[in-house]
Amino acid sequence: MLKFIIRTIQEFVEVNEDEITEDTHFISDLHLTSYDIVSIVGKLESSLGIEIPDDEIRNLETIGDLKKYLEEKGM
């Protein structure tokens, strides 16, 4: 799952896979904007066939938060 998330993020930002950990922060470490995060979630939704409500996106601050969220959804 982590690799899948990283591959999706790499469509938005140039980043080396080795530099990403679960603690990597979307905004302060990857310099993604709030719009990028929403767009990444949109990509994940269409790839995985799930829906992530907007108010739950707010709580996703790190790669680990996103991974955990998707795992809890049974992904």
Binding site: E11, H25, I27, S28, H31, T33, S34, Y35, D36, V38, S39, V41, G42, E45, D54, I57, R58, N59, E61
Partner: protein, 568 residues
Amino acid sequence: MKKRYYKREKLRDIKALVRRAGTLYPDKIAYREIGPQNQIAEYSFSRLEQDVNAFGTKLLDMGMKGYHIAILGENSYAWVVSFLSVVNGVGVAVPLDKELMDKDLVKLLHKSDTDVIICSDSFVQTVKNILPECPRIKACIVMNPVEEYPGFFVMEKLIREGRELLEQGRRDYVDCFIDREEMCEIVFTSGTMGVSKGVMLSHKNIMAVVYGALSLVDPGGVSFSVLPVSHTYECNCHILPGLYCGVTICFNDSLKRVVDNINLFKPNITLMVPLFLKAIHRSIWQHAEKNGLEGHLRFGIKLSNLLRKIGIDLRRIYFKPILDRFGGNLCQIICGGAPLNPDIAKGLEDVGLEVMNGYGITECAPLVAVNTPLWKKAGSVGQVIPVCRVKIDNPDIEGCGEILVKGDNVMLGYYKDPEGTKASFTEDGWFRTGDLGYLDKRNFLYITGRKKNLIVLSNGKNVQPEEIEDLILAKLPYVKEVVVFAPGSPEDDQEYIAAYVYVDEEYLNTRGITDYKGRLNEDIKILNRGLPSYKRIAKVLISETEFEKTTTRKIKRKPVIERGIENA
């Protein structure tokens, strides 16, 4: 050089604007939106006029004359009908930002003396949660409900009943006189926690912006609505001018699908904030790199720019594959809300997307200046619109000072805040924007910074650092001093909110806490959950020393922030 403006009819009020649109473009599509089953719903200008009259008539029938009516929901036809119905003869509209947390909504509902709330289906639960804390609210109306909600009126049913009343001859709403000097809208400046101010706008203010914007810009065809319609920028610079020009406005249904929806609706014009332009610009170059076409693109731009210099514009042919990725018709983007990096604007113009950067502030309803295809200067925010004047207060040697505005677009004042209102105007009636800038000889306005500490993000949202600092100091007893800042500027790609803190080590040591940073990160994460996403702290820095102070023991923000930026 003589100024050239588009000739526009000066309409008296928003009611006249709706009536004019219904008469001039009766069968034309005014709005398109994506329905719950992904079907496209379309509404004509005459349907809009009929629905506004029916809903307004019904609201008067329900005894809501003079009520303050809040509107909470996504961009939609129903939102527009609600807003227009309220301002055109019922009472005062209070558009609410859908990103606000429940506790902040409660504060704004109190502050605006809201009597009735109209919400979309997705906010029914929010309204249910906050209702016990808002005893003044007498009725709730839901737009497009997907199920039945006991206690909520259904907007579509009220419109049907309003239609019946009109058929029976009720004319009190349709024929009502609009006092164009009176408050018709309270719109909150930047959000939450008691610091946001309720800007009172009248029909005169709003129609001045519609007239001023359309004097400089000539929209037509199909446009795409992606910014929140609860903000004056989207409502007064897009929705209402669209009514004047008979533009078909297509509503984006989710930020997750902006590019997909641009491709679906194929607009030729849109209004955006710099955040979107940065994303579009980046995606163009990423796509070129990915396909090994970066060199081709650079060469194409160089050649195209040379040809443009001799009056040959082939951008829509040369860069068709790029433009096709954004629907194929998009050619004009009006940009505002935050500073725009001129390189991004130029980069988009190079491939055929004209960017018209402007400047506004909610208190000016909001437009003050805008660049146009005929009149533009790189780095400026354009010419001052013809309904207002701009003056620079106490200019320095380079002509730079606080931007003051006077004109029909300037607000009536802040709601129930005479002191705040007084402080925001000079003695001779000029509105103090708090922004710094200068005017050149041709009346082009340039923004150079902020007088106050306000952080302006590239999504157009404003963050008052003191607000977050007070929250940290109140919630984290071991934080002795804190300065909140944005290490990057909206013009670069590293924009986020950081907190630079000085902790009380003794407090933590006596409680056996040695990992100060770990504890802080944990606590900030919890604190973030109570903040809207744009106000969240993305990075925490710890200072080993106390912050520098002035003689009056105030933190010297500038050197502290400079040190913070170095450490970020």
